[in-house]
Symmetry: C2
Subunit: 796 residues, 2 copies
């Protein structure tokens, strides 16, 4: 093989012209260069060899569970598929139809995903609502009506008492026959707790028995999967089914959790399942992730009724590889999902979410101060929550305690139900609570929060849009809200991470909304009683409506959500889509920005990154930046005192030596070099591929023995006459491994890993192989840095 090692670089190969036959290029990592057969090993065996190699070895190019995909290889595979389809499509009408089907399958799969996500979100909304009301009572006229629907048909109730109607019976009324009194209160209390426990028990049991992956919010895992990790079954049909059912149960059980995160998981399951209908997506892990990105946009779209926010969420928070084509399709999926949900109309208000609001009063500059204060609160809460929750989850993982998930869920559910019932703000559905807190007081508002003294006669009244003195109702509401705040804070820490589907958005927003409403009412009363302060003088005359406590609740909700997740743009856009006014973006931005900065001061990870790290997933965050002072040679393996790197030589190893190296090491792949003497890098071979190829050769090729020579070159090496038949492994050799020099700064290496989605990279010095850097090495290196090096202050 002199020619391969030729020192003259300007007269290279025999076969390397300008046009390379199509079949030569069937995917990186599989047989690139198997043209012009014939060589040292005799013509007959060579044709046999060629036959064998032309059919791709089954299994080569697939991945094991819990392994990282090779983005580059997947993208090449996809383009190869395209080439095949393009070259075939002129052959027949059938092939042309197939090529059209292939071209449109991207749109089909996102449409189907959008439709399914929207429909499932509608079903979940309706079912959760019904089950939630079941804790309080039943509708006698029609069992399947929830409280609100039950009383719609009733003509006997007035608008103010629209919650009460004879058809709707509380459990006390039904069982004891009486609606008032301590006995019925206890009965209702008992039934409330009973149902909550039943739902929680059912949920955790279903998850445990049928689909362990259905628990949690799913977003950390989806982020990891989108970054190129394989977790088989995480997005499968069982997970989808069980997650949908148990999500309804978990929400209805009254636990401090929301359905927004799990809805993203549900949408991604839909995307994954539908992608199996289209070979373009089912057979390519990189393409499949495009569908999943679109699906996560659809998930957020239905969770918050915010299609644009959903797309930005997908872009900012979960996606890794996001070509512009995906942006457009994600947008489409998000819209389709939103329209399906709107036509299902689960809340009866032709809106996608319960807590859509419209404000009519502007905000004033001095209000930025309380808004920023809410931002600080949000950041503190976020930092505190992340630390406390991670500490608790770590304890659960490491101690015996984690072995009884059912018991844990039931305990938490029981405590939640028992503590929640007496306080009206914790008893009700969290979404409804948020809606109530967001809504501005108006003449039609019957809430306790809107009990202000009328200016005319000093008695209690519901003012129509002007600041007024608070009546005792507001004060008692403030007390109850404060208790609810403490309750929610504590329970959320223990709830997120339970073995039931549990989202974090709604509890976080609820906490922020409570805090915000409290601050809002405080500012409002301050402005009312001190309207001659220089701050208020300009805007808050007596009788004017200058403070909107509902807006404070919304700003607080955004701040708390921002503190926990560290989302920025997408969060602001989501909340903007909830309010529908550009007007309020500035307060939102101020609060979200403050919250992020305050949160980042205590630790730069959001809750999802923290959970990814807790679970040890190999996720290379695209957002973190560090100032490395290291070079590639400091991070590469082997380190100074390690055993030398396990390498293969291109043409002088026997099968026995090869198998020996494979069995003695556990590396996922091996560099191939010219020879032990020259150490120049030829390529890279994956362990899995080598094993498969050897087995395949053993099955199909005769004469392969332990002392067979293994070669990765184009032509077989010249061998003694009596030597057994050699084994050609060139087809599994990746002849274009990524390399960096040993002097490359690590920041560049990390950048390359992130942007190209590498699994490993070889380190050379003047063309000679020195070592290898894997994604795992990079993660370890970043982990080390995190402990020693300050992050970039620039990242504000």
């Amino acid at each position: 093989m002199e020619e391969q090692d030729s020192a003259d670089p300007y007269v290279p190969y025999d076969g390397g012209g300008d046009a390379i036959p199509l079949q030569e290029l069937s995917g990186r990592g599989s047989n690139y260069a198997m043209s012009n057969g014939g060589g040292g090993a005799g013509a007959s065996s060579s044709t046999h060899l060629l036959d064998l190699l032309e059919e791709p070895i089954p299994g080569v190019g697939t991945y094991d569970d819990f392994h990282t995909i090779d983005w580059v290889r997947e993208k090449c595979k996809d383009r190869e598929r395209h080439r095949k389809i393009n070259s075939k499509k002129k052959e027949s009408a059938w092939e042309f139809t197939k090529s059209l089907y292939d071209a449109w399958s991207g749109w089909l799969v996102v449409t189907l995903t959008g439709l399914a996500s929207g429909a499932l979100a509608g079903v979940i909304d309706i079912a959760a609502d019904w089950l939630n009301d079941l804790k309080e009572g039943v509708c006698l006229s029609a069992m399947w009506f929830n409280h609100e629907q039950c009383c719609w048909d009733s003509n006997e109730t007035t608008f103010a008492e629209r919650d009460k109607c004879p058809q709707w019976k509380t459990w006390a009324e039904l069982i004891l026959g009486q609606a008032e009194g301590p006995g019925s209160y206890i009965m209702n209390y008992f039934m409330f707790t009973f149902w909550a426990l039943s739902f929680a028990f059912l949920a955790v049991s279903l998850v445990k028995v049928f689909a362990p992956y259905a628990c949690g919010s799913g977003i950390p895992e989806i982020k990891t999967i989108l970054s190129g990790f394989i977790i088989r079954g995480y997005l499968g049909k069982w997970t989808l089914m069980i997650k949908t059912i148990t999500l309804v149960l978990a929400v209805a059980s009254g636990l401090s959790l929301g359905k927004e995160g799990p809805l993203v998981h549900v949408a991604c399951c839909c995307g994954n399942i539908f992608s199996y209908l289209f070979p373009k997506y089912s057979k390519n892990e990189a393409k499949k992730r495009e569908v999943l990105s679109a699906a996560s946009a659809a998930g957020v779209s239905v969770a918050f009724g915010a299609p644009i926010g959903g797309v930005l969420f997908s872009l900012e928070e979960v996606s890794y590889y996001f070509p512009l084509k995906t942006l457009w399709r994600s947008f489409f999926a998000a819209l389709v999902a939103a329209f399906v949900l709107r036509s299902i109309n689960p809340f009866g208000n032709s809106r996608l979410v319960l807590f859509y609001v419209e404000y009519h009063t502007p905000w004033y500059l001095f209000e930025l101060f309380p808004f920023i204060l809410l931002g600080v609160f949000g950041g503190l809460w976020g930092a505190f929550f992340i630390r406390a929750n991670i500490a608790w989850c770590r304890r659960r993982k490491s101690t015996r305690f984690g072995k009884y998930p059912v018991l844990e869920v039931i305990t938490v559910a029981a405590i939640t139900a028992i503590v929640a019932f007496p306080n009206p703000y914790t008893r009700q559905n969290t979404s409804e609570l948020i809606k109530e807190l967001f809504t501005d007081c108006g003449p039609l508002e019957s809430s306790q929060l809107c009990q202000y003294r009328s200016q005319m006669n000093g008695s209690q009244a519901y003012p129509a849009g002007s600041d007024a003195a608070a009546a005792p109702g507001v004060y008692s509401a403030m007390w109850q809200l404060s208790l609810a705040l403490v309750f929610k804070i504590i329970m959320t820490i223990f709830t997120f991470g339970l073995k039931v589907p549990s989202g974090l958005f709604i509890p976080s927003m609820a906490i922020g909304a409570i805090a915000g409403r409290i601050v809002g009412i405080a500012v409002e009363q301050l402005a009312y009683y001190h309207h001659d302060w220089f701050l208020f003088r300009e805007w808050c005359e007596v009788g004017a409506d200058c403070i909107t406590p509902g807006l404070y609740a919304m700003v607080g909700a955004a701040a708390c959500l921002g503190g926990v997740t560290r989302m920025t743009v997408s969060l602001v856009v989501i909340v903007f889509e909830l309010t529908g006014g550009l007007e309020y973006i500035v307060p939102l931005m101020a609060a979200v920005m403050t919250s992020k900065w305050v949160g980042d001061a205590f630790g730069r990870e959001g809750i999802y990154e923290a959970h990814i790290r807790l679970n040890g997933y190999p996720f290379l965050d695209a957002k973190e930046e560090f100032t490395h002072t290291t070079l590639a040679r400091d991070v590469m393996r082997p380190r100074r005192n390690d055993t030398p790197l396990a390498v293969l030589t291109q043409d002088d190893m026997t099968l026995a030596e090869l198998q020996n190296i494979i069995s003695e090491t556990s590396y996922n792949g091996f560099p191939v070099i010219v020879s032990k003497e020259s150490q120049r890098l030829v390529g890279f071979a994956l362990r899995r591929d080598i094993t498969i190829a050897i087995e395949n050769a053993r099955r199909k090729q005769e004469g392969i023995m332990l002392n067979s020579r293994v070669y990765f070159t184009q032509h077989a090496p010249t061998l003694p006459a009596d030597s057994p038949r050699p084994l050609k492994l060139r087809s599994i050799l990746d002849m274009s491994p990524f390399t960096v020099t040993d002097h490359t700064p690590m920041e560049i290496v990390v950048d390359i890993f992130r942007k190209l989605g590498l699994r490993q990279c070889l380190v050379t010095h003047n063309g000679i192989l020195l070592g290898i850097i894997t994604k795992k090495n990079i993660l370890e290196h970043l982990e080390e840095l995190k402990q020693h090096v300050e992050p970039l202050i620039d990242d504000i």
Copy 2:
């Protein structure tokens, strides 16, 4: 230098421990590895050398005009700067303040950019409006009022005749003293043309004399600059000043152009100018481009009153390197700009744009058919426009014709003015035309387009929101609109590319809006006269308002804009922000999608990419995908019969040989190899850096002669005793050049170039240097492919 070439890779360097001193890493390409001095060349000269090297050679690391930046180097430079600031900031309060200033400068610069862009947009709007009305007449009571403002104060006019008031005098009234009659018509006609010509002449003269870069829309150049190209002065203060002034003049001259594209240029100038206040941005080309991305978002934000659309435009259309941090800052800049513009309130409607609309009627499913038809029209128009405009521009570039830009502008302006005046739809400002076409007919609408027959008595009346038979006014309006359509189509082709600031958004939207309105009225009349057709039966009873012609105008505008620019998500979001209703996104998406597909069928480039190609800018589009069947070795230089690659050897060249190579070739850089015999790659040195370093050495170092040995290694080679002093150039050697193997498929190479922003990449085979691939080679290769290979059908 045995150690450098050591074949044993596992025991490498003396100095290479885990921690590398800070100063060793001052930027890629400059002195990485100049630790532990002392070597073959004697201690005294070595310390001298070290002193020399520690101060960076001035000029190394900067760029020439019309060259491409090295993203990787810039990013490393920035991190190095951070390290310095971070390490210093604990030294003193002053350093700490400086570090805070540095950390906040990102926010400061985008805030300033947003403020300036908003203010300039407001000024441009107001001035253009005033100048435009000057073509018709003057306000006697106050010269500086435009027509509308002039008549605001007038109490004598009724609402229906709000355009007429005694204070406002047309030129005929002023000069001839009469308002009616053929004489005054001719006078007005003459003055209209006179002013139009004056404005156009002034605009083109100013551009020609003061700032040639101020012409055109600027978006192709900004895209190129953002992708890493240097065009000095393109974003400078002269360009800003002249562009602002001439934009006003050009818009007022009535040419078929808009201010939206140039506003993006103006905003980018602001961003560039403000970035000079902050060393973090002024001294780093990569960081500066972050500011420019944010600025372009601000530009679109004020152009269309669409902050979110602006961010997505920046992301989808112009930006190249867009980290998430930039997304957040772009959003902020866009918001600030929008709020400044809103407080300036140039249109007196507290909206950011003239043509903000709100529709109140839904659309029906059968309307998708005309919407898709409009999409087809938009796509056809886009494809036709791009071809025709590029052909015309090419003709202008290649023939003598392009030598008389002033004459050309005046000719086009004269034709435009003369043809435009008689037709009311072309005489008026294009933005106003779009507003009129978008607006739905209501009881207050006095437009000719709203002259319907009343259902009661058959006479002309303005119906309040229900379909009706068109009156003659509508028919004559349809005729005039058709003529206006033809006129706009022709004039826009000849206008875009003139040497005045000229945007394309408004003319494109106007064409689409005219076509859309015509289709809308046609469908409306069809529905009115055939309301028993099965299509209309369900929705269009007599008296119901089922068709909104204004919506058709908007859909048409989006389709035409989409056809010309091939924008997708950002376009839909921009138009969504104009209407403020999620409801109409589906028609918009359908039309924009159709328009893109139809346009792509005729050629996949948008107008901006086409102009980039026309001007030969080195822009590597991130969106195009091809199925290459080539490998790196097919694209690399030298080709088979070329002269061998010009390489430097690491330690056996003399200064004369080096200078010889530099003077004989024109390459921007040279690979450095171990020796002519071994050909193994060591690094890469830039031509500019070598020249600067040699000059610097000549000036500062004694004893450098033509036969001095030049070396790139750590230690000087052992030389004969009488040889002159050697020159060490290691500090300018990039020791981590990007390499790929010759077998790497070109699609991967292109991907690497795009994602990492490379300028060149070396090609190796088994560690031996074979050739080089530059960005130019890649662009040529893609150009070739474009002619031979079908693009990916998948890209639908």
